[in-house]
Amino acid sequence: MAYLMAMVRDLDAAEEVFQNAAVVVMQHAGSPDAEPIRDFRAWAKEIVRRQALHYLRAKGRAARVAALEPELLVQIDRAFDDDATDPAHRQRELDALRDCATRLPDVQRRMVAMRYEGRASFDAIGAAVGRTAAAVQRSLSRTRRMLHDCVQSKLARVTGVAP
């Protein structure tokens, strides 16, 4: 989902693309003539990638987000492909994030929850917290950075490696 988010930059769109990709995967799995899959991750990623590009072509103009520059897509692919983080480390990141999220100032935690749990738009969040949509977008961007730094700091304390 994070890979999809990096491409379509919208949670609802990412979900829609994921579901479409899942249907393609299932159709392949259910086909008696299906070719054997040697690398599930690479195969599934390519399906997701194609579905996301199809979505951006089909709905990009009507979407709120700008088109994705091809050179950025290449770099997102590289980052995703090169990321060999093991599941145990991902779990440590998840645990650290959960703790870091509880330490956010109340209004920031509310905005994060509204954005990720309620899938609220910047306008809706702004109306709820008394800020403009642009201010909400900036605040959420800063909050991601805070959470990232907090998680890295926590992991560094656990592993003894500087972030």
Binding site: V23, M26, R109
Partner: protein, 193 residues
């Protein structure tokens, strides 16, 4: 290697903060074309920059996962102020959910069984990230369904603590439990040894 386009806004930012800012704004769709090209150039120029992007993508995935389990802290008292996006999504894609969950479960279960027991050489080992990929999706679907159909909950069920993840997300299906357990068991690839 492409040359790095110059920043066109705040030249006072240190490089790492600029990269972080571009990445986080990108995830909200906040970058224009020139900023996207600037971000691409920074990523192309540095493996460390791509590692930073990967960390932010993992963070994004973790945020989605926590949100799906209701662990980010619901905006108390603001429910009426927020767009009813979950209800909209439930209506837009409801027909896909049961099929998606059932078929994803079947595919994963079949793959895990094949890897563990049949060990057909043509099927690669399902990596942890793939399990997390599907587990994330399952958690999201559970959360969305729970939000869309609150009347389906058992009124006599005991109240649970807010910070109890299993209680918030519901019990995972057997295939997911098995897959996650296997993921932590340090399985070797079927084509090894």
């Amino acid at each position: 290697m492409t040359s790095i386009p110059p920043r066109h806004d705040d030249d006072s930012l240190p490089p790492s903060r600029e990269l972080d800012g571009l990445i986080t704004r990108h995830l909200d769709g906040g970058l224009d074309a020139a900023e996207q090209r600037r971000l691409a150039a920074l990523l192309d120029a540095s493996p460390a920059a791509r590692e930073t992007l990967a960390r932010y993508l993992r963070l994004e995935g973790a945020l989605i996962r926590l949100a799906s389990a209701g662990l980010l802290g619901s905006p108390t008292g603001d429910g009426a102020d927020v767009e009813p996006r979950l209800r909209d999504r439930a209506g837009a894609s409801r027909w896909l959910r049961p099929a998606a969950v059932a078929l994803a479960g079947s595919v994963l279960a079949a793959t895990v069984v094949a890897v563990l027991f049949v060990r057909q050489p043509e099927i690669g080992l399902l990596r942890g990230a793939d399990v997390a990929f599907i587990a994330d999706r399952w958690l999201e679907l559970r959360a969305a369904d729970a939000a869309a159909e609150p009347e389906a909950q058992d009124p006599e069920a005991p109240e649970v603590e807010e910070d109890e993840p299993d209680a918030m997300a519901g019990s995972p299906p057997g295939w997911l439990v098995a897959a996650v357990a296997d993921e932590g068991a340090g399985l070797s690839r079927p084509d090894e040894g």
